[in-house]
Subunit: 341 residues, 2 copies
DNA sequence: TTGAAAGCGCTACCAG
DNA sequence: CTGGTAGCGCTTTCAA
């Protein structure tokens, strides 16, 4: 075979320049302090001068494992996912790990591709924070033996930890609260993710409304996730015959979008209509009026996930536990007494 | 050497199961259609049954290059960066490339680490969208021979494309506009990124104000990037003796944060004070009141970057061109006639 | 149309 | 403390 030419620096080049073996260069780069300091200095200098950067692929291959933490989320645009990503990234960095993220945009095809990528990268740990999921993929991940954490989906298994939020409880608290304010006609705005947690929120909504006040009416609207989607759903709601005094949104991001539409229609919040979100993203505090919502402790969740797949305490990995989080209602100014009709 | 044990599937396992050589398996997986279809089918089946996922590290190593597009941004939380990232990701995916992102949080140390990572990964192309940058790093990237694109920083070089926005013009348009509304006391809210584009906006601000109306007064406030930072800066501004009739913010994200503080202080926008942003993120349209801002065509920029580092037209790569973008003022409802004082 | 084998750049064992 | 060397899993000639 013709020897392929290499444009980039490699260990060998550094070794030659420093007049040592590749083993020694490797030792220096990996900070094994068995190397004589004079030698070390020589190697460092050579590497520096050659502008050498170790090939991480070769490293992972030789080590048989990578130091990559893989993260898969549904929609980076939604601050909810972003916050978890950020926490994980910070934790990973603090432990000397790289991070690779992938977005699915709620499309299962991209989910599949993302999982393929992560497995191909032989990630050290995998966090899957998505609202869509199919059983087959869970099995694929389970079979890979990679320590993984799923958020709101699947069941605990050998190498898989499960984090879930008790949405039912969160929605119930919200509906009770609105009910206590006199609201009887409530609408729910969701998005088109048919699987998992989203539909759980929707179902809980209908259930809770029914339970809280037998006389209450409920209706559901949906669009895509995001500001635009929230607005779109709000428009449909306004155009419909159903005139709710309160609107529950599947998440804060959509709620902010919905608020805009209401505002433009001349509806005052909460005087004319109350609105609530879910997640308690930063923006919920900054919009006008500040949004009543349900807090999901994203940082906390991020840390838990990290601990369970990469963290120091190796015993924690792959235990296959389930962690349930109990969300809290956060009352702000987007909700008030039901308008007299 | 003791043979290391391998828990994960490899080409060899698939080859054995399919009763062919590893070469053939490789061919099938790489979709070289020289393989007899019966053989192909056998291989596919074997791979499937073994739940096999090619080791991307080994692949990159053998190929001598990866199919990874590297992206480095300052602050994923800021929708501005996020939008560019999303565009790049979509383009990359459409071309069968993986994407690896890294955040720097405006810290040059993390920038260095991120660049190291990207070079170590031997990315096929690198996009650096940050507000901080040091010359040394630019040289490092230049020396790597990797097709790269820098946003708003550095100068064109062999393998490096440069995209820049004419901030001066954008700020000037904004100041002129405000000036025409009668504003004479203007404040600028920026963030603590001392280098590059941010300071360019700040400088342009002072310059433009001075030029537009000799009698005008200007003052600068700063905090960290983000909603919180914007709010913080607004608070300092309010507490200061300087009472501007208009506030220009370095970006929309901070403007939204600032608006909250103004609102809480009982100031009405734009009746009591006008406010503008920069970037024209989606949120600018959804906040209350909708924000007057300067549009930066992020999708367009994303596509340009992609074309220049990975795109189909190989001739486009590494030309070392400079692309300048002319931003447009977008007037919404957060600005109005200056209040009588 | 397929197989054999030489690397890709690095790590880690063993010997000295 | 340092060097030699056998892989890690894959691609890609070259031969058959």
């Amino acid at each position: 075979m013709r020897k392929r030419q290499t444009l980039v620096m490699n260990l060998d080049a550094v070794a030659q320049k420093a007049r040592v073996s590749t083993s020694t260069v490797s030792r220096v780069l990996n900070e094994l302090d068995v190397v004589k300091s004079s030698t070390r200095a020589r190697v460092m200098k050579a590497a520096e001068e050659l502008n050498y950067h170790p090939n991480l692929h070769a490293r992972s291959l030789a080590r048989g494992k990578s130091r990559i933490l893989g993260i898969i989320v549904s929609n980076m645009e939604n601050p909810f996912f972003l916050d978890i990503y950020r926490t994980l990234e910070a934790d990973a960095r603090a432990h000397g790990h790289e991070v690779v993220v992938a977005n699915t945009d709620y499309q299962s095809q991209q989910l599949v591709a993302s999982v393929q990528l992560m497995l191909g990268l032989r990630v050290a740990g995998l966090a899957v924070i998505v609202s869509e999921m199919d059983e087959h993929l869970i099995q694929t991940v389970a079979g890979s033996r990679i320590p993984a954490a799923f958020y709101d989906v699947g069941t605990p298994q050998k190498n898989i930890t499960n984090i879930r939020v008790d949405y039912r409880k969160g929605i119930k608290k919200t509906v009770s609260y609105l009910s206590s304010l006199g609201h009887r006609r409530m609408a729910f705005i969701g998005h088109h993710s048919t699987l998992g947690p989203i539909s759980e929120r929707r179902k809980s909504f209908l259930e809770s409304v029914g339970r809280c006040s037998p006389s209450a009416e409920a209706k559901i609207f949906a669009a895509t996730d995001g500001l635009e989607g929230g607005r779109q759903a709000a428009r449909e709601l306004i155009e419909s015959a159903f005139h709710p005094t309160a609107i529950l949104c599947v998440n804060d991001f959509m709620a902010v979008g919905a608020m805009r539409e209401l505002r433009e229609e001349g509806l005052q919040i909460p005087r004319d209509v109350s609105i609530t979100g879910f997640d308690n993203i930063k923006l919920a505090e900054y919009c006008s009026p500040p949004l009543t919502t349900v807090n999901i402790p994203r940082e906390h969740i991020g840390h838990i996930i990290f601990e369970n797949i990469i963290g120091d305490d190796k015993d924690q990995h792959g235990i296959g536990r389930e962690i349930v989080i109990d969300p809290e209602l956060v009352v702000r100014e987007s909700t008030g007494l039901a308008a007299k009709s």
